[in-house]
């Protein structure tokens, strides 16, 4: 029993010490950058505008190959749909929204996207120059016939 108490105390002292060390370094849980030192300069930057980025796997939501700074998707207005709607796509040269987006949950087709597809950036994301924190060996499944 005494041993357990002693061990617990020791652990407590050790953890306490580690705790203070953490508090001093203020480590950011993502990149190990100190919170105090996090400045705009060190933040990831958006990739330069490019042409359409090829998909990494089948049915992957298309990546956004351009800056979306200041593009708001609010109750009042959906900036994405200002170019990507089928009426506007031809003039703006933007990729048209896929047909699947016009269906509501009852599979009923609408004249424009279904409200459940309103928040584009739930699936479609822009690219930043962030390097992967962990290497991975992901490979897409082979396409039919490969």
């Amino acid at each position: 029993m005494k041993l357990i108490t002693a061990l617990a105390l020791a652990a407590g002292v050790f953890l306490g010490g580690a705790g203070t060390a953490c508090a001093q370094e203020l480590v950011n849980e993502i990149g190990g950058v100190t919170i105090e030192g996090t400045s705009k300069v060190n933040m990831f930057r958006p990739e330069k505008d490019t042409d359409t980025i090829p998909r990494n796997f089948q049915k992957q939501p298309q990546l956004i190959p351009h800056s979306i700074k200041g593009y708001n998707v609010t109750q009042n207005f959906n900036k994405c749909m200002d170019c990507h709607s089928k009426e506007r796509a031809e003039e703006t040269g933007a990729t048209k929204v896929a047909k699947s987006h016009y269906l509501d949950r009852e599979d009923k087709k609408h004249s424009n996207i279904s409200p459940r597809r309103y928040f584009c950036m739930q699936c479609h994301v822009p690219q930043y120059d962030a390097k992967p924190l962990v290497e991975n060996t992901y490979k897409p499944a082979a396409k039919k016939g490969e």
Binding site: K48, D49, T50, D51, H66, S67, K69, G70, N72, T74, Q75, N76, F77, N78, M81, D82, S85, R88, E91, T92, G93, S111, N112, I113, S114, P115, Y118
Partner: protein, 218 residues
């Protein structure tokens, strides 16, 4: 000698009076101009909470407020013409804004948002009518280097200019939030403001087009 050079009317009212009038003119004009410029400052605009709480705060997140080079556009840079004539007209129209300040027409964010569609349309109409004069005080088509622009901008800009479009046709809601726009997505904004992209080519650029916007459009 001096008597010969002076016209008769100067003699009759006296040299001192003439200089006095001249000096008074300078003081009066200087004072008028000073007062006018005092109302043409951002600090003046946001001294009204209607502006400070709504449009100014939205604007603080945009590129015209904060950007990499620190060049800024203040309220009057976009909302008041620089030329004397149009500026006077705009300032006289702005007296209506004082009336609505007193009436409290937009004195809460709720009231402001209820009127946002109308206010925005006034300002779009004004900018369309003067060929986005205030934008072009800084952004001139003639000096745009398309090779420095993003692919998409470099493709769209020349085409838009050929079509006779003006800045505001496409660049709406870049400094303030847009009102509810009917994009035919769901029922949320049914019957709201329809946004135009300048499908009808604008008339050829007029040098001193009169701003037509209602004064409360500021």
């Amino acid at each position: 000698m001096l008597n010969k050079l002076m016209p008769n009317w100067v003699k009759s009212i006296g040299l001192l009076t003439v200089f006095g009038l001249f000096a008074a003119g300078i003081v009066f004009w200087g004072g008028f101009n000073w007062a006018l410029e005092a109302t043409n400052k951002e600090s003046f605009c946001i001294s009204c909470h209607e502006m400070e709480e709504n449009v100014f705060r939205e604007y603080q997140n945009t590129i015209h407020y904060t950007n990499r080079t620190g060049v800024r556009a203040t309220c009057p840079d976009c909302h008041v013409p620089k030329e004397w004539g149009p500026k006077m007209i705009r300032k006289i129209q702005a007296s209506n804004e004082v009336l609505h300040k007193v009436l409290g027409t937009i004195d809460t964010p709720e009231k402001f948002n209820a009127k946002r569609g109308q206010l925005a349309q006034n300002e779009w109409k004004r900018m369309k009518a003067n060929d986005s004069q205030e934008c072009r005080n800084c952004h001139r088509f003639d000096y745009m280097d398309y090779t420095e622009q993003g692919n998409r901008a470099a493709r769209q800009h020349p085409q838009a200019f050929i079509d006779g479009k003006t800045c505001i046709d496409c660049h709406k809601g870049i400094a303030h939030q847009l009102p509810a726009i009917d994009q035919h997505i769901g029922k949320q904004n049914d019957g709201a403001v329809a946004i135009s992209h300048g499908e009808k080519p604008a008339e050829p650029a007029k040098e001193e087009a009169k701003p037509e916007a209602k004064p409360e459009s500021k």
